[in-house]
């Protein structure tokens, strides 16, 4: 998996005290890793800092609440990392 995954998994492991070897690309951050909304703020802060981006958490939450997206689209690790890569690419464009 990408270096993005390695970085994000490390951030989650450190922030939420989750064993790094239990985090896989298929892990759902909420359903599988048990990360709650407050802990996810810490993770978003760490990701924003590490990648120089601003994860659009409010937009994602709104889309999920409106039924326009599923939590899997944004909070499964591999999808989260894809979103991060896209945000990094957009920043550099």
């Amino acid at each position: 998996m990408s270096s993005t995954f390695d970085t994000v998994a490390k951030l989650i492991a450190e922030t939420c005290d989750i064993p790094a070897d239990t985090i896989t690309p298929e892990s759902h951050a909420i359903n599988d890793l048990g990360i709650d909304s407050l802990d996810f703020l810490d993770i978003a802060f760490a990701i924003d800092k590490a990648f120089g981006i601003k994860l659009p958490l409010e937009q994602w939450t709104q889309e999920v609440n409106d039924g326009k997206a599923t939590t899997e689209q944004y909070f499964v690790m591999k999808n989260l990392c894809t979103s991060i890569d896209q945000l990094v690419a957009a920043r550099g464009a």
């Binding site: 407050l38 703020l41 802060f45 924003d48 601003k54 659009p56």
Partner: protein
């Protein structure tokens, strides 16, 4: 300060949106029912109220950064340190700097100084959301006026 109303700040003395910094002042009241219990014969400003004082200072800065469109609600403290006792009558200078504005949250660092010496400090995380109601926003604007929130920083809009 009016401790029983959770009005922990007396005035905003500096607010710099570009630098994302703020400084406020407050004087600990000489008397309060809180000091009757905390502690009898040895009144001390409760640490939890000092944390709230830093949160309120940081919060006004976030309100300024969002042009009075969003309300910060306290979510977490990290590395909170209460370095010295604060007693009735002492004058507090409270500073804060927003370290990060995320999507729906913000992180600030704040400190309280007495006579130029840091008495406590912390990193504070806020959820930043729309005002729950127009009445809530109006209340905050009245509070802003009481604190001399700088015009041009969003309180007059």
């Amino acid at each position: 300060m009016q401790l029983d109303y959770f009005q922990l700040l007396d005035r905003i003395v500096e607010l710099n949106v570009q630098k994302r910094t703020i400084r406020t002042e407050a004087t600990v009241p000489l008397t309060s029912t809180i000091f009757e219990g905390h502690f009898p014969g040895y009144p001390l400003m409760p640490g939890v109220l000092l944390l709230e004082t830093m949160a309120q200072t940081s919060g006004w800065l976030i309100i300024a950064l969002t042009r009075f469109e969003r309300m910060p609600f306290l979510a977490a403290f990290k590395e909170a340190k209460l370095r010295s006792f604060i007693t009735p009558g002492q004058q507090l200078s409270i500073s804060a700097k927003v370290e990060h504005e995320g999507s729906g949250f913000a992180v600030a660092k704040s400190a309280i100084s007495v006579d130029g010496k840091v008495a406590c400090d912390a990193e504070i995380t806020f959820r930043v959301v729309a005002f729950p109601s127009p009445e809530f926003r109006a209340h905050m604007k009245r509070e802003a006026a009481r604190l001399k929130f700088p015009t041009g920083a969003g309180a007059d809009g």
